[in-house]
């Protein structure tokens, strides 16, 4: 078996997450085909790709929400599904479009999540309070979530994913709808969690500047397969675009580099 594309900065012996040759089909549509990558402890890996590339499917498979047709997924050395409840305790997850219980208040929702992870009262108060303040949600936590803006919902989803100090974070477009300050706070927080606490983070985004800024490595998916993976520098070298930004590299690798004709046609 070929070595997994890995090599996190920590050089941890066993990666927090290993995705090995995972395939998944929905009827005749092949959503994932032999997807293979890993995330080490303390590493932030960006999962990039065009719409429909298979990023969300990959994340759901990692969480055990979808069962792969082939391949295996290991979390902290154990196969996903071996002890799903214990495994999920170590994960924090922000879905692409967080579906929160709108009939609960922010406090009630976060208390519900804390119940699920068995956090004691003091920890809840301390950690949730810190997050509410840091993400400027304090003062809104007693309002029903149905009245929240998209950004406020995203903040609640982020707090719910972080409050129990997970060892692995699966974040599907976590900065969606966040105001610049909260986005900055979140980015810094993720960096700190990875470097200081050794949290492994799999991070999906369409904003390539963000990926370039905070990810140690990126995995580019297209049509359900891993098109490229590695550090930003290695991808730049592979695309033959020395001195370019991740956007140019991404467009070149996904075969959509020459967009001039498209833009010209749209302007007509």
């Amino acid at each position: 078996m070929a070595a997994l594309p890995s090599g996190g900065p920590s050089g941890a012996p066993s990666p927090a997450l290993e995705v090995v040759d995972v395939s998944k089909s929905y009827g005749t549509v092949r959503a994932l085909q032999g997807v293979r990558f890993s995330v080490g402890a303390g590493e932030i890996v960006g999962l990039l790709g065009p719409n429909g590339a298979g990023k969300s499917t990959t994340m759901k498979a990692i969480l055990g929400l979808l069962r792969p047709d082939a391949g295996s997924i290991r979390l902290f050395g154990a196969e996903v599904g071996t002890n799903p409840v214990a495994t999920k305790r170590q994960i924090g997850y922000v879905p692409e479009s967080p579906s929160l219980y709108e009939f609960l208040t922010g406090t009630e929702y976060l208390d519900f999540i804390a119940d699920m992870y068995g956090l004691d009262r003091a920890t809840r108060r301390e950690r949730i309070g810190q997050f509410l303040t840091g993400l400027e949600l304090a003062g809104h936590e007693d309002a029903l979530i149905s009245g929240y803006s998209q950004g406020m919902r995203q903040k609640v989803a982020l707090i719910a994913a972080l409050a129990h100090r997970p060892r692995l974070l699966i974040l599907d477009e976590p900065l969606n709808g966040l105001d610049p300050r909260s986005a900055r706070v979140t980015k810094d927080l993720l960096r700190n969690l990875a470097s200081r606490d050794g949290v492994a983070i799999l991070f999906s985004t369409h904003v390539l500047e963000i990926a370039q800024a905070i990810c140690d490595r990126v995995v580019i998916l297209d049509h359900g397969t891993v098109l490229a993976s590695g550090t930003f520098e290695s991808l730049r070298a592979r695309a033959g675009l020395a001195g370019s930004g991740l956007e140019e590299v991404f467009l070149a690798l996904t075969g959509s580099g020459d967009l001039g004709d498209v833009v010209a046609a749209l302007e007509r």
Partner: protein
């Protein structure tokens, strides 16, 4: 008003509803086209027409009772005037259940607010879509009555009844639009801020609106009301929804001018409703987002009441969340209203069905309510199921939590209803206790039975009219549920009233059958929840 634009938007609204089902999501599917609904109308009309022809043939056959076709005359004469009420009644009774409870995301019609449409055009299109959705009931009744009306020489009355039925159908749709606008406001009753009281007021207001209209336009009650009001013309004259009926009665009496006046008044009333609905829509064009604050909620208080029942903290958290949702979520209100409507009907019509019938009715209310609540227990999670399944809980935890969230309200309500019926019919204390036990047993078994369908056939799609369970599964659950219900209720009632002198035998049959079904349902319900955790069902 641009009628082409109205027709186009109405078509889109109907298609969006039809295509929200899993099997009809393919835009090429004929089941996802508005024409499909028209075909259903046509098929039902023809089916009912065929049934009507069979009735006509039967009364004309040589072996038929004396009177022949003439015997149909009083039947047609009494049913035809009732037709317009069917139109408005069906839309209101069904519409209150399914249209008013949509989430603001759909009823706020933000998808259409930015389009270059006038409020009247939007209201006309939305009303047409609602009326079209519930038109099969009218098609069915018109089809059945056509051959009967022709044979008794009441073709003119029939044509007028058909026209007035369509007008009534649209009037019902307009009323739904108006109530939708008002309740949209009730949904954000305190613009800016509100608290726990607001939440209660909102739920109570919506409950009362739905309950009142459900009862006011319930065919059983409406027909009884009409029968009582025969001769009380002053009262019916003042209620616009009876004008169609009045027109038909006047036509039957030969007062053509008066009939025409009532028809004209009915058409004018339709125009007035359209204008009022448009004005209300202008007023509530954009739903005001409410901020309801529930101060005083603290972290980590736990759920000691639920822990007493043996639930783990994780299970108790899910149960508590579900119980909150039951009283706070607009789309759950029909589930709460159903037992109220049915039990009020029992109190209204109780004198005519006797104590045995009342017990079976109570059993039906207890069982049907439990089935409705339990079969929707998983689907009402909608897309949040993804969040729930990503949390550290297993299938057994979720099953116990959901079962408790269903069993607590259903057994409590069934016990109260059982006691109320027992007191209404002045049962002895032992019989009253037995009745309560029967109602609770039925609620428990049907709750467990509903969870079998909830785990396997839930519908998680965000749709304008939430159904939470796939339609075919809902039909199967209702059909099989009714069989189970009768399998417990009939021997239970026979035991209760000692009909054949062997009460313990019948009690044993009821308990044995109920117990066997309950155990089987618990097993299959539990395995259904296992499947949920194997693969996200959307």
């Amino acid at each position: 008003m641009d009628l082409a634009r109205v027709r186009r938007l109405a078509g889109v609204l109907v298609a969006s509803q039809l295509r929200s089902g899993r099997s009809t999501s393919d835009p090429r599917s004929v089941f996802g086209r508005p024409g499909f609904l028209a075909a259903v109308d046509g098929a039902l009309f023809l089916l009912a027409f065929g049934a009507g022809l069979l009735v006509v043939d039967a009364v004309r056959s040589p072996g038929a009772p004396a009177g022949g076709a003439a015997a149909l005359t009083p039947v047609v004469a009494s049913v035809l005037p009732f037709l317009p009420l069917v139109g408005v009644g069906v839309v209101l009774v069904a519409g209150m259940m399914f249209e008013l409870t949509t989430t603001a995301k759909f009823s706020g019609s933000d998808a259409a607010n930015w389009l270059p449409l006038s409020p009247t055009e939007y209201v006309a299109a939305s009303t047409a879509a609602v009326a079209f959705t519930y038109s099969p009931a009218v098609a069915l009744s018109l089809g059945a009555l056509l051959p009967l009306a022709v044979v008794v020489g009441a073709s003119g009355s029939y044509l007028l009844a058909a026209l007035l039925s369509l007008i009534a159908l649209v009037e019902g749709g307009l009323l739904i639009e108006m109530v939708r606008s008002v309740t949209q406001r009730a949904g954000s009753i305190a613009v800016g801020r509100g608290g726990r009281v607001t939440l209660v007021v909102r739920a109570v207001v919506l409950l009362i609106v739905i309950l009142t209209l459900q009862l006011a336009f319930n065919p059983v009650i409406a027909y009884g009301f009409l029968e009582r009001l025969r001769g009380a013309a002053l009262i019916t004259d003042s209620v616009p929804f009876f004008w169609g009926t009045e027109a038909l009665l006047e036509l039957q009496a030969g007062a053509v001018a008066l009939a025409a006046a009532f028809v004209a008044a009915q058409v004018a009333f339709l125009a007035l409703l359209l204008e009022l609905a448009a004005q209300l829509r202008v007023r509530y064009w954009v739903p005001t987002s409410s901020e309801i604050r529930l101060a005083g909620v603290e972290y980590g208080r736990g759920h000691p009441g639920l822990a007493v029942l043996g639930l783990s903290p994780v299970e108790a958290a899910v149960t508590s969340k579900d119980l909150r949702g039951l009283v706070r979520r607009r789309e759950m209100l029909p589930t709460l209203v159903v037992p109220f409507v049915l039990i009020v009907l029992l109190f209204v019509e109780g004198g005519t069905i006797g104590v045995f019938g009342a017990v079976l009715w109570l059993a039906w209310v207890a069982g049907f309510s439990a089935l409705l609540l339990s079969s929707t227990a998983v689907g009402q999670e909608r897309r949040a199921l993804q969040t729930l399944l990503a949390l550290p809980l297993g299938p057994a935890d979720l099953y116990r939590a959901k079962a408790t969230a269903v069993l607590l309200p259903t057994t409590l309500v069934s016990a109260v209803m059982g006691a109320a019926v027992g007191l209404l019919f002045h049962l002895t204390w032992p019989a009253l206790v037995g009745l309560v036990a029967l109602a609770v047993t039925i609620a428990v078994v049907l709750s467990l039975w509903g969870l079998v369908f909830a785990g396997r056939y839930s519908d998680f799609q965000d749709r304008p009219r939430p159904q939470f369970v796939r339609p075919a599964a809902m039909l199967a659950a209702t059909g099989s549920g009714m069989v189970i219900l009768m399998g417990i209720a009939v021997p239970g009632a026979l035991a209760l009233f000692d009909t054949f002198g062997v009460p313990w035998l019948f009690a044993g049959v009821a308990v044995g059958f109920g117990g066997a079904v309950g155990v089987a349902a618990a097993h299959f319900g539990r395995t259904g929840f296992d499947r949920l955790f194997r693969e996200l069902p959307f």
